[in-house]
Symmetry: C2
Subunit: 384 residues, 2 copies
Amino acid sequence: MANAPGQRRKLVVSRDLGPDTMSLLYAREDLEIVAWPEDRRCERSWLLEKIAGATGAIVMLSDKIDEEFFERAGPSLKVVSTTSVGFEQVDLHALYRRKVRLGYTPDILTDAVADASVMLALMAGRNAGEGVTLVKEGKWPNFHFAPFFFTGPQLSPTPLSPTRTAGFLGFGRIAQATLTRLTAFGLTHCIYTTNPASPPNTALEASLAARYNTGISSSLRSVRRVELDELARASDVLFVLAPGGESTHHVVNADFLRKMKKHAVLVNTSRGTLVDSDALAQALHEEWIWGAGLDVVEGEPHVGADHPLVQEPRYVQYIGWECITDHLRKLYFRRCVIIPHIGSATFETRLGMVNLAAGNALAGIDDEAMPAELDVAARIASQP
Amino acid sequence: MANAPGQRRKLVVSRDLGPDTMSLLYAREDLEIVAWPEDRRCERSWLLEKIAGATGAIVMLSDKIDEEFFERAGPSLKVVSTTSVGFEQVDLHALYRRKVRLGYTPDILTDAVADASVMLALMAGRNAGEGVTLVKEGKWPNFHFAPFFFTGPQLSPTPLSPTRTAGFLGFGRIAQATLTRLTAFGLTHCIYTTNPASPPNTALEASLAARYNTGISSSLRSVRRVELDELARASDVLFVLAPGGESTHHVVNADFLRKMKKHAVLVNTSRGTLVDSDALAQALHEEWIWGAGLDVVEGEPHVGADHPLVQEPRYVQYIGWECITDHLRKLYFRRCVIIPHIGSATFETRLGMVNLAAGNALAGIDDEAMPAELDVAARIASQP
């Protein structure tokens, strides 16, 4: 669509992208930049109003990009650029029918989320949430060294626990980057499940085994794809790192959690919908597993102080030196560390993400190759 | 000293070591086991009373083992076994003069503390303390995605920050185990300082470089011993992992902290005395550095809610979308994550520690080779 003289094409931005990136957009004098001005989630009514006649849109995971959105936008719309690696908020069929292109931000947040995944595994195992709270509440002066106070299961192996198995529900880039980090902690086995429709990836396993069986990471003895049942039963620490959506909804449910090891730690840094929150709260409360580290919770951000998972752990006073091992394990069994979906929240990664989203939008408007464009046709074809 | 018929030798234990280990001690029918019965630090008066005529003592880091202790014990005392890797509570000269042997628990806690060191580096960089608090206080529902909200410096490299330098103040086993973990996060450079009296260890550096320049950890480009000044100036994340005592007292002071990078993270998992708490609180408050992750604080456990470091960070409401980069950096600049000296607190490691302490005590009483005995003569000779 040619630019009429004196009439600038419109790019709608549903959240301020920061001065560095916004200035790149405002520098484009041929574009009218219409940005949501407030410090909160963009209102849908605003987005639907502004999108009319726009050529491009930079949106967030929280903006529903559906039939109504495209209707309002009209035929001028050439590109939607989401500032996220996921795009479950986008109706791909509606987008494809209108030949609108879709940009997203893959890969760029892999390392930040892998860092956060390891952090949450450590925090949940090591009672870090309780530790921070105890000190903040001024209770450290009452606490003296006792051999088993505040103990949890160790991530790295010990003479008493010479094998440690990391499990991955989903085994894409973030999972593999997490595994890379864990090998340096001495993890000895890796098991994973992927979409049952995917064929076994023996080449990947061979390449991973070769990669990790060298140098400092010779601790890793095997990388193996397994069924969900074995994943639950055999993992010492289990990372949920699969896409959201219907096919993975509540894949971690009561049945799955009941099979897990008593000292296992569950980490979810992908999408809240994969884990049944009520079942997990029960699992923590009834001591089916040791603890959980969550960056995402189903229904977020509507996860208030009364949410069953936020209620865990209930801080229990350490009641005596006789409470060692089993008894102490019981007292301290309920651990849930939750952070507010900040797995990718580093300066460097988020700046990279918003710059990529801006680059995708501008390339789409200019009919150029986008730095990261989803192959929508292939994606639709691969869906069940 | 021979065991008189009908008279059992006495082993004093200043803290319950848990059922697994205590049962090993009680199984020795030739010994009278005298254990402090309460769930708190052993009272000195109790220890001084019970130690009279004892053959051995299993003690904690919090028990002062001084001239008075040895006077009260008398000539029957053959062994002191401390349940700790450090032994700064022991008057080595007084011990040596009386030919009492000293057991301790080196190495066994290396991996647990290295795990905790990486955890604290991630927590301080990623605002994990604030994140946990925000969710616990029920504030998540008010918080929607914003590109730079809750962001911090990334531990792993990014295209925007392709080099990342880990600094180590002290470069013993725990520091090297921490470095091993960090290499899998992609850290590119390692610098360290050690006791100025130690000669340069080029063999160590060559061996580390060879070890890390293979396989997945090829990211590490150099390992170099530097002066304290360069350590402060060049570290992106700095680990304090040196022994306590006079020679390292407040080595991290205001002068040191002022030289550090604005985005640097300081981690202390060794001894609180190495860091000047007031200077660190000022450094955080006045934005000299990004944040700190502390497992130890000088004067612990007398670190209450009014301690200047516990006061950091002060939770500041996110005030608007215009607060990106510099302004936001200012708002969120004060971060101090503190956990109550639980760096070695895993089931496996603590059980290993108490078993080792028991084994040391029994071997000392039996005049046998101790599993981990300090070479006291060599230690005294090496001290300034």
